[in-house]
Amino acid sequence: MADAAIIVEGAHKTYGGKKAKDMKKALDGLDLRVVRGTVHGVLGPNGAGKTTLVRILSTLLRPDSGRVEVAGYDVLTEARAVRFRIGLLGQHAALDEELGGRQNLELFGRLHHLGARQARVRADELLERFDLGDTGRKPVRAYSGGMRRRLDLAASLVTDPEILFLDEPTTGLDPRGRAEVWSAVRSLVGGGTTVLLTTQYLEEADQLAGRISVVDRGRVIADGSPDELKSRTGGDRIDVVLRDAGQLGAAVALLPVPEAGVSVDVDRRLLSAPVTDRMTALSRVVRALEEAGIDAEDVALRRPTLDEVFLHLTGAEEEAA
């Protein structure tokens, strides 16, 4: 298939441990196909196998079995060809902390076999582009989290890779740092680069990715566009917090959805239900509560959380099994 930048078929990876109980199955028959020139999100909780997948794709880790091709090259037998075509932004900054930003970029440029002058020009371009121009001689270890991430991203773009891996690029960043990284990633899209992005946050996948694969226990359990996935979960939800937990039962009957779809949290005096038409649902719920004389502390519309998408998908999978 000419249009696939990444092909993974039946990838397995089990981490060591001499006894069976110490073994950890990280990938359990994972399949994935990423279309060239797209941003593909891999969404899943901690321990789902996301980082293992990225490490295998970037030739840092060997799969136990399965077929893994990146840019048309096999990661096991043609690792070098793969390395010429990829950029990697791992979970931890892959930078030389003692050196400055420019020194880092020049170092990586030289190791990509750019000439001295070329490496210097490229470093300047990238510093400019990621707004790191005036960091001077400061070593990377003195950078803020957001700056470090931007430099890390710049380092993975030294040779304009065909395929870029971003492993949880915003984990541990404050909202400002996150916004910085998001806008940097967006600026890449459209340049023809294929991006594979892992994340724990639905919002992030939603913001950046055109297509999402949901991963759990080393396998892809669903994929589709962000909207497709959300609508499979039942779309938006309405949360109602009551003043009096005693009225929860009465309130459930008033909500414009089947009772089976409503979740009740007695401790937080909270009702939560999926809705289809946001504004209609909101006004109907508020009116119904008022008419019944039930006091609400808070009524809010929101998107499903990853937990909900996830519970929904894993739940559906267990039913099917």
Partner: protein
């Protein structure tokens, strides 16, 4: 093997040199430390036990060998630090030559050790050490010392690859002291209890020290040790070099 082994290794060596430029204090401390030991043993502790001749002529070659042995911990620390940082992942995901990370490391460490030798020899001369044996002997002695350091370097790399954790570096940093002192660097085996003297004579470092003393015509030198001072480091290299390279390549398993 890639065509870029040399350029990539040189790039990695320059990375280490850039670290030096960033941390001049660390570099100076690592050069001053052996000098401090030399002064301490020369003036405070050393008594020249059972040494026939000036103690300084015995001590300086011993300190040179000891400094080469202690280089092991510096190498291990640097490799461990690299492995525990994300930057190694970037190196390994780039199309650079396989061995360049390790070759760059050894080139920089050898350079530092060579500078260390120059400093220590200078201080030794200032203390009144007078090596004999001419230019050939002198060059031979320096060669043996650097060969020994090169073997220690690969032992250090292998230890870092196997142990891989900063706590283990600390353990090794403590252990090099008794192992280093269990040699004839500071005192003659003749002045030790019999069994201890035997252990000490078998220490590869003692072979290097004895051969260096022999080549420089100092007390404690015995002829016939040069072959052992060549053979021991080579034997260590034959074992540890391939292990370390294999281990580094296999990091992704």
């Amino acid at each position: 093997m890639s065509a870029y082994v040399l350029t990539d290794s040189w790039t990695m060596t320059r990375r280490e040199l850039a670290h030096w430029a960033r941390q001049p204090v660390q570099v100076v401390v690592s050069l001053v430390f052996p000098v401090m030991l030399l002064l301490m043993f020369g003036y405070l502790i050393g008594g020249g036990r059972a040494v026939a001749g000036p103690y300084v002529d015995y001590l300086v070659p011993g300190m040179l060998a000891l400094t080469m042995a202690f280089g092991l911990e510096g190498t291990m620390l640097a490799v461990t630090q690299d492995l525990n940082k994300g930057v190694i992942d970037r190196f390994r995901s780039m199309p650079m030559a396989d061995g360049a990370v390790l070759v760059g490391r050894s080139a920089a460490d050898m350079l530092q050790s060579a500078i260390g030798l120059v400093v220590l020899i200078g201080v030794g001369l200032a203390l009144g050490w007078r090596p004999q044996g001419g230019g050939g002997g002198f060059l031979g002695a320096v060669g043996l010392l650097l060969l020994f350091r090169f073997a220690m370097l690969w032992v250090g790399i292998q230890l870092a690859l196997v142990a891989g954790r900063p706590e283990m570096v600390q353990a090794v940093q403590i252990l090099v002291w008794p192992v280093g002192f269990l040699s004839n660097a500071l005192a003659t085996p003749a002045a030790m209890p019999g069994w201890l003297g035997t252990v000490v004579q078998w220490n590869p470092m003692s072979q290097t020290a004895t051969a260096v003393r022999d080549l420089l015509g100092g007390p404690g030198g015995e002829s016939g040790h040069v072959w052992a001072a060549v053979a021991w480091p080579l034997a260590l290299l034959v074992v540890f070099f391939p292990f370390a390279v294999r281990r580094f390549r296999g990091l992704g398993r």
